[in-house]
């Protein structure tokens, strides 16, 4: 019987302590709070590297909180997917914390850093919990801090966006609760491993399938899939750059993670039914997202629509339900988090430099800041799937799997959407970097502080690393997919019994 691993609690304990200390430091200067914020994020990165190393070496780790054995108590579980997600969260957290210290967060009246840490705690909690109701609670922790982060700057666009964001996400939470209620009423347990064991013999009864669809709607709203994505492009672009970057990188991916976790573990026996829903949803998400982006001229809004189209790829990868496709999805999620957060940060730098993120007002940056142009090009080309960057390998793995399964329509959509993504990125490149600065527009040409550039450079370096060593990262993704496709190991670790492999 494997011992409890207290390491799993650290990614949750560190931020909550930081929230408390940061709230006490209200009177201390902004610089002190940002320093502490960066320090906590660094500590979180170290912890998550250790956690990843442990999980990679010993397999699935569990922590029974309060020593209550599963399925009675809440169990925290770290399998390879969770560990990888926590690691990426820590990387993005550190990057955005440094950027926020560089760009300043005066609009938040000193509340940015505690809210930021609370958000990271919610995200980590969602990745690490092994209990469905606990997942709901972590979702709410994450959402509550994100509501405040959207609304706090307090301008009219922010308040309007916050109303839309809050309403739709609150309804999603209600759907989640209904799904939970149906499952609990049927099975009398909420531990995901226990649910998986008890749900397997039930077959395709109406209640099982309707609870699956309720979860699909709840997670789908949070992940921003078609037809539930409307809150996303109307709220992300009004937030200041550090908030937009962390939202774009992490929040929708928590929804995708929840889909992967619940549909590969709890509903492992219903994949045919789920695939019939996930594949069309994924394709439509891709297409609507990319067309939405094509008609926009404000950088954060273009990028917001691209989040949606990229979520489509992940949903399609999940919909294939094979080892290779799940590995491609894991690879895609990690690649996407790094690239998308970075693009938002670079968009912020462009705005800082030229005074606006509206493409009609920008221009001439290639002459003035050639390094910034190169920096933009790396994540932009990666998003479009140009070899040898991370996006190419992510798309390649997905398309190869689709070809093996003979899903021609899906593959055609994947490739066409990739092309249109490239069109959007080239549009930003042309308008912000290549064309001359528009006549009559006074660009402030502010210097670019190192604190703002460093995270963007580091994240771009990660993207290039993925391109140089795709084999190593794909190997990790494949091992994570092994655990997902055969959940017996997960169930065994949580329930501490030997269950026959299904």
């Amino acid at each position: 019987m494997p011992a409890d691993s207290p390491l799993i609690a650290l990614p949750l304990v560190l931020p909550i302590f930081a929230v408390g200390v940061l709230l006490c430091l209200r009177k201390a200067g902004e610089a002190t709070r940002h320093a502490l914020n960066i320090l906590t994020c660094t500590a979180m990165l170290v912890v998550s590297v250790f956690l990843y190393a442990q999980v990679s070496e010993h397999g699935v780790l569990v922590l029974r909180t309060g020593s209550w054995p599963a399925p009675f108590g809440i169990t925290l579980v770290a399998d390879l997917l969770s560990a990888v997600m926590v690691l990426v969260t820590a990387v993005i957290g550190l990057g955005v914390a440094v950027y926020a210290a560089g760009s300043g967060t005066g609009k938040f009246r000193g509340y940015f850093t505690p809210l930021f840490q609370a958000l990271l705690m919610g995200v980590n909690g969602s990745f690490l919990t092994g209990d469905l109701f606990n997942l709901y609670v972590w979702f709410e922790v994450m959402l509550m801090s994100s509501f405040v982060l959207v609304a706090l700057p307090g301008g009219r666009p922010q308040l309007e966006a916050a109303v839309k964001y809050l309403t739709l996400n609150f309804i999603a939470s209600a759907f989640f609760l209904v799904g939970l209620g149906v499952l609990y009423g049927m099975l009398g347990t909420l531990n995901m491993a226990d649910l998986a064991v008890k749900l397997a013999p039930l077959g395709e009864s109406d209640l099982v399938l309707s609870s699956a669809v309720l979860f699909l709607v709840a997670f789908g709203i949070k992940a921003g899939v078609f037809p539930f994505y409307f809150w996303l492009p109307s709220s992300y672009h009004v937030t200041p750059t550090p908030v937009a970057a962390v939202f774009a990188g992490l929040l929708t991916k928590v929804g995708v993670y929840a889909c992967i976790r619940v549909f590969t573990l709890v509903y492992a026996g219903h994949q045919e039914f789920l695939a019939s829903l996930l594949l069309p949803i994924g394709v439509l998400t891709m297409i609507t997202g990319v067309f939405g982006a094509a008609s926009q001229f404000y950088i954060p809004r273009i990028l917001s629509f691209h989040i949606i189209s990229q979520i489509g790829y992940m949903i399609v990868g999940l919909g294939f339900f094979t080892r290779g496709a799940l590995a491609a999805t894991v690879f895609y999620i990690v690649h996407h988090i790094l690239v998308k957060a970075n693009l938002f940060l670079i968009g912020g730098i462009i705005g800082h430099r030229t005074g606006s993120q509206t493409l009609k007002k920008t221009g001439g940056l290639y002459k003035k800041a050639p390094w910034l142009a190169l920096l933009f090009l790396i994540p932009a080309m990666s998003l479009g799937g140009i070899p040898p960057l991370s996006g190419f390998f992510a798309k390649f793995a997905l398309v190869r799997e689709g070809l093996a399964l003979g899903q021609w329509t899906v593959i055609a959509a994947c490739l066409a959407v990739g092309l249109l993504t490239l069109y959007s990125m080239v549009k930003i490149w042309n308008e912000a970097f290549w064309k001359d600065a528009p006549a009559g527009e006074k660009q402030p040409d502010r210097p670019m502080p190192l604190m703002m550039m460093a995270p963007a450079i580091a994240l771009a370096a990660c993207t290039v690393m993925f391109g140089i060593f795709p084999g190593f990262f794909m190997d990790v993704a494949l091992r994570a997919a092994d655990q997902l496709i055969n959940p017996a190991g997960y169930i065994e670790a949580v329930l501490q019994t030997t269950t026959p492999a299904r």
Partner: protein, 115 residues
């Protein structure tokens, strides 16, 4: 009771949905309120209802025997109510601020951010 509750939950969901689709922001607020209360009731009712069967182990026994009420859904619902209450309190404050800023309670005028 077990036959009445599903009907009540259904009516609550229907009212919530209807209100959520209104343009008046206060009605939307009431809508999501009803919606979340219906969800809470569903958890409560879904786990089965019983009367006079407390989940208390008698003094001379070591385990529960016979029929007893499941205490867990009540704990779940309590958690959900508290969270819903917090979000709703925030939502009311937010709507008030938004109303001050926009000078309107009509959601059709909430398009300043859609440029």
């Amino acid at each position: 009771m077990e036959n009445l509750l599903p009907i009540a939950i259904g009516i609550l969901f229907a009212c919530g949905c209807y209100l959520c689709m209104r343009r008046n922001i206060v009605r939307v607020l009431l809508g999501i309120m009803l919606f979340s209360q219906a969800a809470n009731l569903l958890i409560f009712a879904g786990a089965g209802l019983s009367t006079g069967t407390p989940p208390i182990i008698p003094g001379d026994a070591t385990t529960l025997t016979g029929a007893y009420a499941d205490p867990l859904p009540q704990a779940l619902v309590l958690t959900a109510i508290v969270i819903g209450f917090a979000v709703l309190a925030f939502a009311i404050a937010l709507v008030l601020r938004a109303w001050h800023k926009t000078g309107s309670d009509d959601l059709d005028t909430f398009h300043k951010s859609d440029t």
